[in-house]
């Protein structure tokens, strides 16, 4: 493999009007607006619909549990289901996903269980799943840092001739970070099989996109790195899936990275500790609620006769079952062993750390002895 690939994309800016395959009324579009992408087959769209509906049920359930105090925090992706589900559905089980903290619902598609996904938000441990088993990295909190991990892992796989693709999720705010720039540039220079999804939900906590960039679209940035960029309607799951599938195929066949911007909207607050009334108008939220990604696809599927009552019932039941599993998982508090805090810091044991572990162990023993005495005294 040569690391000096001669590769030049046409220097064309992404269209300012987002690529769209279904309009808000659920009508299939033709012509320029589609960017030349084909509407995925109806069976695929039905599968995406099912995943989005189930994901939303999960998201709503977790937000409710968080308000009840079961979780320390939960960054909701309500309204972003088309981006979250559409793009992750374009990769295979062998590929790797590098998510952020807002991407819980994408992890459902990777086969993760609610208890695994939410372990860190509940405050049990920083990362709750086996990254290699699910080929899904830990959620990154420091913005854009995970994009570099995705590029590095993709490069390592390529050096080993493994035909896998890495998918990095970022938000609009993260594109201002230096690591986003470095990841885009490294990926393009090394021609790694990486797809970057920027979910432009128009807010970084409270800061609107206009204060984040002066570029016409975030996808414009791709051109400067010498990779293709696509500006897509992030509430059109058909478009998100079609564009992502093309990007994944391209990456897998040696064509290098792609930057996809999904234009969407964060319906919920940043997290439960946020107060969006301080920085945006309710009418704006209502405007975007009328562009709901699930309703849009639903209209199309109904018009195609694909959404029978049986299918609706089955999907609703799957959503309720997942919600119940989520409630169950969050209703039991696992026994946490404070001494485990010392167990995974280094592969090579350290004397000083063993001493600190022993000190905490003695402290815990003294506490429980004290508690026993108090009980005895009563």
């Amino acid at each position: 493999m040569s690391l000096n690939v001669e590769h030049h994309e046409p220097r064309v800016l992404p269209s300012e009007k987002p690529i769209r395959l279904l309009d808000n009324a659920g009508h299939a579009l033709r012509g320029r607006e589609t960017g030349g992408f084909e509407l995925p087959p109806v069976e695929r769209l039905l599968d995406l619909y099912r995943r989005m509906v189930v994901a939303r049920r999960f998201d709503v359930q977790v937000t409710a549990l968080t308000k009840q105090g079961r979780l320390a925090t939960y960054p909701s992706a309500y309204g972003q289901e088309a981006c979250e589900i559409g793009v992750v559905s374009a990769i295979t089980a062998d590929d790797w996903l590098f998510p952020t903290y807002r991407d819980s619902i994408a992890l459902l598609t990777r086969g993760l269980e609610p208890g695994e996904i939410l372990q860190s938000f509940r405050g049990d441990w920083h990362n709750g799943w086996d990254q290699h088993e699910h080929r899904t990295a830990a959620m990154a909190t420091p913005l854009a840092t995970q994009a570099l991990h995705a590029v590095g892992l993709a490069h390592a796989a390529r050096l080993r001739s493994d035909p896998i693709v890495t998918l990095a999720y970022l938000g609009d705010g993260a594109t201002s970070e230096g690591d986003a720039h470095e990841a885009f540039n490294f990926a393009a220079v090394w021609q790694t099989p990486t797809v970057f999804l920027v979910q432009n939900n128009q807010f970084a906590i409270s800061t609107p996109i206009a204060r984040q960039t002066h570029a016409t679209t975030l996808a414009d940035k791709a051109v400067g790195y010498g990779m293709p960029g696509y500006h897509v309607d992030g509430n059109d799951v058909a478009a998100m899936f079609a564009v992502a599938t093309a990007a994944v195929d391209r990456a897998r066949s040696g064509g290098g990275p792609t930057l996809i911007e999904g234009l969407t909207y964060r319906i919920e607050s940043h997290t439960n500790s946020d107060d969006p009334t301080r920085y945006r108008a309710a009418r704006d939220v209502e405007h975007w609620k009328r562009r709901d990604p699930i309703e849009r696809l639903e209209k199309y599927l109904v018009s195609e006769g694909a959404l029978t009552d049986d299918v609706r019932t089955a999907i609703a039941e799957a959503g309720e079952a997942l919600a119940a599993r989520t409630r169950d998982a969050m209703s039991v508090s696992p026994e946490l062993d404070p001494l485990e805090l010392f167990d995974h810091v280094y592969a090579t044991p350290r004397t000083a750390l063993a001493e600190q572990r022993a000190a905490l162990e003695a402290e815990l023993a003294a506490h429980s002895e004290h508690a026993r005495e108090e009980v005895a005294a009563r």
Binding site: L3, Q131, L148, H149, E182, T348
Partner: protein, 342 residues
């Protein structure tokens, strides 16, 4: 000096002793590690055809090809961040930061990801990588070329931080760092790159997490690491003529700290001073003095001294001689103790 021992069985046949600089020893270590383990890849700024600005990677790309050794874009966070992904996939990246002060863009990746990955994944994901950082000053470098960043790394749980002071340790410790399942910040004192030793490769010295008594003495323990081991040895030699017997300990590892070896030396001499180039306030010497005092207070005849750079930004080349701790400054500092009370 630590006593080099050769290990003929595990590595390639031992060569005849040859004069080798520290840069040459590091180069040989990379070469041998790469020959032995094809998971080892080397990349960073100018490490390919140029062989690195200090020539530590000289000839490696020609020997192993561009898939094993390559020039990356000029971005330190990108270098370390991509190394995280590579290590997750099973490679053992050895990346170069070119100079201490240029490693700071990688600070977030190192502190937030490299150091924490093993812990946050309950040991399921290790990041076996080596971050090589040419460190410290005394080379007449212009601004931003002579920082001492060791305290930042040593203060970060999850990192292993080592600094060799001589060619034999440079070879042995770099081999060990590459073999380690823990991420290692491998600091290379620039002013020692051209120091020479007769070495028969492959040389193996003490394990990299151990300090070493490199000169025995009875009156004072001087604690140095990297460039200041030479300073301590020179001070000890000068003091000998005045009847002062100085023991010198080369820390070698800053994290973990070898309490056992250093504590034993201190309990023998009952007096100690730690020497480093970095500024004093909040510097690594503060940790050394504090933990030695906590553990050995009743063996101490005098407060543990820190003989360090001043609390100022690293000076310009023509003024750095006034900043760096010298053997004279070390001996002056030792004279400040109330020796009669001993």
């Amino acid at each position: 000096m630590s006593t080099p021992v050769t290990e003929p069985a595990t590595d390639a046949a031992a060569s005849a002793p040859q004069p080798l600089t520290m840069a040459g020893a590091l180069n040989a270590a990379l070469r041998d590690a790469m020959a032995e383990d094809d998971r080892v890849v080397v990349y960073g700024e100018d490490v390919g055809p140029l062989g690195g600005v200090f020539r530590v990677t000289d000839g490696l790309q020609a020997a192993f090809g561009e898939d094993r050794v390559w020039d990356s874009p000029l971005a330190e966070s990108g270098i370390v961040g991509t190394a995280v992904g590579m290590a997750m996939y099973g490679l053992r990246p050895v990346v170069e930061m070119q100079f201490d002060a240029f490693s700071y863009p990688a600070f977030e990746q190192i502190v937030s990801h490299v150091a924490k990955m093993r812990n946050r994944t309950k040991g399921r994901v290790s990041l076996p990588m080596v971050i090589r950082i040419p460190c410290a000053g005394a080379i007449g470098g212009v601004e931003h070329h002579s920082d001492s960043s060791e305290a930042y790394w040593a203060a970060t749980p999850g990192l292993t931080v080592v600094m060799p002071s001589n060619p034999a340790d440079a070879y042995s410790m770099l081999r060990e760092a590459i073999d380690s399942d823990d991420p290692v910040v491998f600091m290379e004192p620039k002013s020692r790159y051209w120091s020479k030793a007769e070495l028969a490769l492959p040389v193996r010295t003490a394990p990299m997490n151990r300090a070493e008594v490199v000169r025995e003495g009875t009156d004072v323990t001087l604690i140095g690491y990297g460039p200041t081991v030479r300073t301590a040895l020179d001070a000890a030699a000068a003091a000998e003529s005045e009847g002062l017997s100085i023991e010198v300990v080369d820390l070698r590892s800053l994290s973990p700290f070898d309490d056992e070896t250093v504590g034993a030396s201190l309990r023998k001499t009952s007096r100690a001073a730690v020497i480093h180039e970095a500024a004093q306030f909040g510097g690594y010497g503060a940790e050394v003095a504090a933990r030695l005092t906590e553990r050995n207070f009743f063996h101490l005849a005098a407060p543990i001294l820190r003989i360090t750079g001043y609390d100022i930004p690293y000076p310009s080349p023509k003024l750095e001689e006034h900043y760096l701790p010298t053997p004279d400054r070390v001996l002056e500092a030792l004279a400040s103790w109330e020796w009669d009370l001993a």
